[in-house]
């Protein structure tokens, strides 16, 4: 049974840490943006011809020439009221952009997260069980090669093979061009999700597969495993009862700790498949100097990564029975 009082205290502590962390994330990103040569007024007016006075009045309105402390105080005050400002390139409130984009990205990231987790675990288990055979070697080479492959290059190759040559999938965009949003069917949407999802998955497989393989080999050398073997257990049953049970939790924990990498991968994959997600929004915001949107995305990405780490921590501290027992002993 989970100790609820302890659990509540743990969550409270974690929430406090998140708040402190976010404050510092905001501080750092704000200082970085302030250092940059970006001029928000120029971004806002882009190519429109304006007079010197209009520029001056815009600068005064946005407080471009105020000291950084005043700027930051203003912005922090707005954030506390839930106002992240207005995106300069989409011309709608940042929070709306993030809501829409993050939902699309979550569908992509979570599906590939689950897919790569299951596939990686399976491959790792097979490789570990068939250690030093040709199957193991193939899986190992595959994993090492993928670990060294640039994400965006894999995405390019996938796009080239499946969209350009085979024509199985559209080359990009979240929905077909010229279709109204209410007419987009679930299948249209799914059709465009598959290729980015598969790409993101095959990249995510490597780490989890290698981890599972090493852990399983470790378990296979343990005394209880040898004992079970000598009692005559073999094959799938042996692996299931004495191997998988012991390596599943660490593997899931590792997968949750990978949220940061997942987000990074999504940024690149979304950019190549022009999938309308948060990563693509971050790149456009960065390239076109949309400061409010970029800062908003940084904050939400930090929350996303924190959630992954928090779940991993919970599994580690509260779900794994071995850790609970060793705590009671000590």
């Amino acid at each position: 049974m989970i100790n609820y009082a302890k659990f509540a205290k743990f969550l409270g502590k974690k929430a406090l840490r998140l708040i402190i962390l976010l404050i510092f994330v905001i501080l750092i990103s704000f200082i970085l943006i302030d250092m940059s040569p970006i001029n928000p007024v120029k971004t806002y007016i882009s190519n429109v011809v304006v007079s010197q006075e209009q520029v001056a009045s815009l600068e005064a309105y946005w407080g471009v020439n105020e000291p950084i402390t005043t700027k930051m105080a203003n912005w922090l005050g707005n954030i506390l009221q839930g106002n992240l400002g207005t995106s300069l390139i989409y011309r709608v409130p940042v929070i709306d952009v993030i809501k829409e984009r993050f939902t699309a990205s979550l569908a992509l990231m979570l599906s590939s997260w689950a897919f790569s987790g299951i596939l990686g675990f399976l491959l790792g288990t097979i490789a570990g069980f068939k250690k030093d055979t040709i199957v193991d070697k193939i899986i190992k080479v595959y994993c090492y090669a993928l670990q060294s492959a640039p994400t965006f290059w894999i995405a390019l190759i996938m796009l080239m093979v499946f969209s350009v040559y085979l024509g199985w999938f559209p080359t990009g965009l979240g929905v077909p061009i010229g279709t109204l949003s209410e007419n987009v069917s679930f299948w249209d949407w799914l059709n465009r999700l598959i290729l980015p999802m598969v790409t993101l998955s095959i990249i995510g497989v490597a780490q989890i597969a290698l981890f599972t393989r090493d852990k399983l080999i470790e378990e296979m050398n343990s005394d209880y495993f040898l004992f079970a073997k000598s009692r005559g257990e073999s094959g799938w049953n042996l692996i299931k009862r004495h191997g998988i049970r012991n390596i599943l939790l660490p593997a899931i924990t590792l997968q949750f700790l990978g949220f940061s990498e997942l987000f990074g991968g999504a940024v690149l994959v979304e950019q190549i498949f022009t999938y309308p997600g948060i990563g693509q929004a971050a790149v456009s915001a960065g390239l076109r100097n949309d400061v409010p949107l970029l800062l908003g995305i940084v904050i939400f990405s930090a929350i996303f990564v924190y959630c992954g780490n928090l779940i991993a921590d919970i599994i580690y501290n509260f779900v794994d029975p071995r850790i609970k027992e060793s705590e009671e002993d000590g």
């Binding site: 962390l21 510092f24 994330v25 750092i28 990103s29 970085l32 943006i33 250092m35 940059s36 040569p37 970006i38 090492y144 090669a145 670990q147 060294s148 492959a149 640039p150 994400t151 965006f152 290059w153 390019l156 190759i157 796009l159 080239m160 350009v164 040559y165 080359t171 940061s260 990498e261 987000f263 990074g264 940024v267 690149l268 950019q271 190549i272 971050a282 790149v283 960065g286 390239l287 970029l294 995305i297 940084v298 990405s301 930090a302 990564v305 924190y306």
Partner: protein, 285 residues
């Protein structure tokens, strides 16, 4: 005896012991990497000439990586790009490990500073790397400097963690306690007891940052935040190739990326083998 003789019939490598094999791997990988860097330095940017009579040619014996839309030889461009990547990777990894060393040293002074360093590591890991590199690169105005600093400022965390743990372990060991009782100064202990033991970690750590640094530089450049478009970087070559994917110019994307993958793999291989050599306890794992 019987076994080794049998093995040598099929595989000449089986005769060698692990140490020799490790040394051969290190020598071979370093040789390839050095050749790549030197040959890329020898390529003058003027040698990559435009030749509109040989536009968009598929790979052939004349141009083994094909040519691009301006008739430039892709093999030369790729080689030049790899050299650039390795140089930026080197700069970023060395900077990164310098940051990591100073962080670990600051952390070893007392408990509070150690807490601060641990928290700083968590802070830098809390923002996805690629976003942080983009932010830093934007802040520093982009270009080679921006992207090198971006990569350097995000990749010190893992080495810092390793060094912190190592230093902590050494500091609680018996011989350090003995030296303390003998009245040796903190500096003496750091120099005579701690430094010699963490040097291997630092060397291996720096080499193992390399592959990540190269890959992140290429990704960020690909997205348009790194090197400027007229530099012959791999990220630039690949982002250009995207425009020609639909017309079926597959060689523009395939070979430069594959070359980058091989370079990254070689660095990984070299790093792991140097680790085996310098840190024999890890070789038995």
């Amino acid at each position: 005896m019987d076994n080794t003789q049998k093995g040598s019939l099929y595989n000449p490598l089986a005769k060698l012991n692990l140490r020799t094999k490790t040394l051969i791997t290190i020598a071979a990988t370093s040789l390839i990497l050095i050749v790549v860097v030197i040959s890329s330095l020898l390529i003058n940017s003027n040698d990559i000439t435009t030749n509109f009579q040989a536009m968009n040619q598929a790979p052939s014996f004349g141009h083994i990586f094909g040519t691009d839309w301006m008739g430039r030889d892709m093999f030369t461009r790729t080689l030049k790009g790899l050299g650039l990547s390795v140089q930026i990777g080197a700069g970023a990894s060395i900077l990164s490990s310098l940051i990591a060393i100073s962080m670990a040293l600051v952390g070893s002074i007392n408990k509070y500073l150690d807490g601060v360093i641990a928290w700083l590591v968590d802070l830098f890991l809390s923002i996805p790397h690629i976003l942080l590199i983009i932010l830093i690169s934007i802040a520093l105005g982009g270009g080679a400097f921006g992207v090198t600093m971006g990569v350097a400022l995000t990749h010190w965390t893992s080495l810092t963690r390793v060094l912190r743990a190592e230093i902590k372990q050494i500091k609680t060991s018996d011989y350090v306690r003995l030296s303390e009782r003998f009245g040796k100064s903190k500096l003496w202990i750091a120099r005579k007891h701690i430094l010699p033991l963490i040097v291997t970690q630092i060397i291996v750590g720096t080499i193992l940052i390399f592959p990540h640094a190269i890959m992140h530089e290429a990704s960020v450049t690909f997205l348009g935040f790194g090197l400027s478009p007229h530099e012959p970087a791999i990220g630039i070559i690949l982002s250009e190739s995207m425009k020609y994917l639909a017309t079926g110019d597959w060689w523009l994307a395939l070979f430069p990326g594959l070359a980058l993958l091989i370079i990254v793999l070689l660095f990984d291989l070299a790093g792991e083998n140097i680790k085996k050599l310098l840190d024999p306890t890890s070789a038995n794992k």
